[in-house]
Symmetry: C2
Subunit: 211 residues, 2 copies
């Protein structure tokens, strides 16, 4: 199995989604053209992307087995074996993420929240425990959690980030609008709303210009 490109990796989850839709619709086999049409991509690109992750070949004339493809992609993306995550910052966004049912489809389960503002040592949100931040290290170690989600104000984000790493977290998903510094052996993904809005607002201004 070859290494796949960064771009391919970003497309895989949308393939997975489309394949699940197709299965829902009762399709057992699907051609690259059908997938491509749903996603505004080219069939060639879809085939090449699939080739990078699938264990079995597609059949000429029939296409790809939907179930097998779903299985292969989920496996490749690590969405099969669910990993636990904790979240720091139980404000509005934190609560929203704790209640977001879709993460289980992506192999992630938020098992606890942490916050400074809890005078009490323990609260509950969306059926999940919320602890005082001073319990962080303790609980992360005990549960062996690898993923930490940051939803604190940007002023505290770096500090929380350092804390998470010290507690043993290896992957950080950051929703605060700052560029966090982490060592090379820590995975970091910034959920960058500004970047999304830049793309959207640029496209919008082009559209408005052409009318």
């Amino acid at each position: 199995m070859e290494g796949i490109s960064k771009e391919t990796l970003l497309r895989l989850p949308t393939y997975l989604r489309t394949l699940k839709e197709l299965r829902e619709e009762g399709e057992e086999y699907v051609s690259s053209t059908v997938i491509a049409n749903r996603l505004n991509l080219s069939p060639i690109q879809v085939r090449k992307d699939i080739a990078g992750v699938s264990s079995t070949a597609g059949k000429p004339k029939t296409g790809f087995n939907v179930n097998e493809l779903i299985e292969d992609m989920s496996e490749f993306l690590g969405f099969n074996d669910s990993s636990q995550a904790i979240i720091v910052g139980v404000g509005q966004l934190g609560k929203a993420l704790m209640g977001y049912g879709n993460f289980k489809n992506y192999g992630v389960e938020i098992v606890a929240g942490f916050d400074t503002n809890t005078e009490i040592d323990f609260a509950e949100e969306n059926g999940k425990p919320v602890y005082n931040i001073n319990k962080l290290s303790n609980i992360v170690h005990r549960l062996g959690v690898h993923i930490g989600i940051i939803t604190v104000p940007k002023e505290n984000a770096q500090e929380v980030c350092d804390l998470l790493i010290k507690a043993g977290i290896r992957a950080i998903w950051n929703f605060a609008p700052v560029n966090l510094k982490v060592p090379d052996n820590i995975a970091i993904k910034n959920e960058d709303m500004a970047a999304s809005l830049a793309v959207l607002s640029k496209r919008l201004s082009e559209i408005l210009k052409n009318e």
Copy 2:
């Protein structure tokens, strides 16, 4: 002014953020190397990206004027003239976005929310009005809003999307995990949590493998 690349566009907001940090720290001039170091990029790339959007040249030996660069980038990204947005789906995520103070830095202001679940015709959330969805078309027209944000369950997302377009919305920011179909003259940006998690989880598994 040349057209800039898609990749450059995605980097611009992080430059802007870094420049604002630098201004905060009292810097009047900055070199491409300093910016590059903060963002783990190469100075050459930073210079090329800047060249695509800035109106004035940098000075050899001194670097770029921080304020001018901030101005040029904000202008280029359309973050200066604030555009109004409405949001459909005032659940946990919708509420979180309505209360998110940072959007004003990106030239976006959420002016109203819509939901089906309001038996009453009018409510309030984070100091902003929340109307019944049947008021959508009316209010979008009246305010001349161009941007619509979708935070409804995925089952209703396409339906809401169609509704927004019919009401005159030209740019859609979609948080529901579905691939929405829109005509060519509508800007769409899917905020794809699954793609982010794919990247993060892949990096994590590499890290865990190497130890």
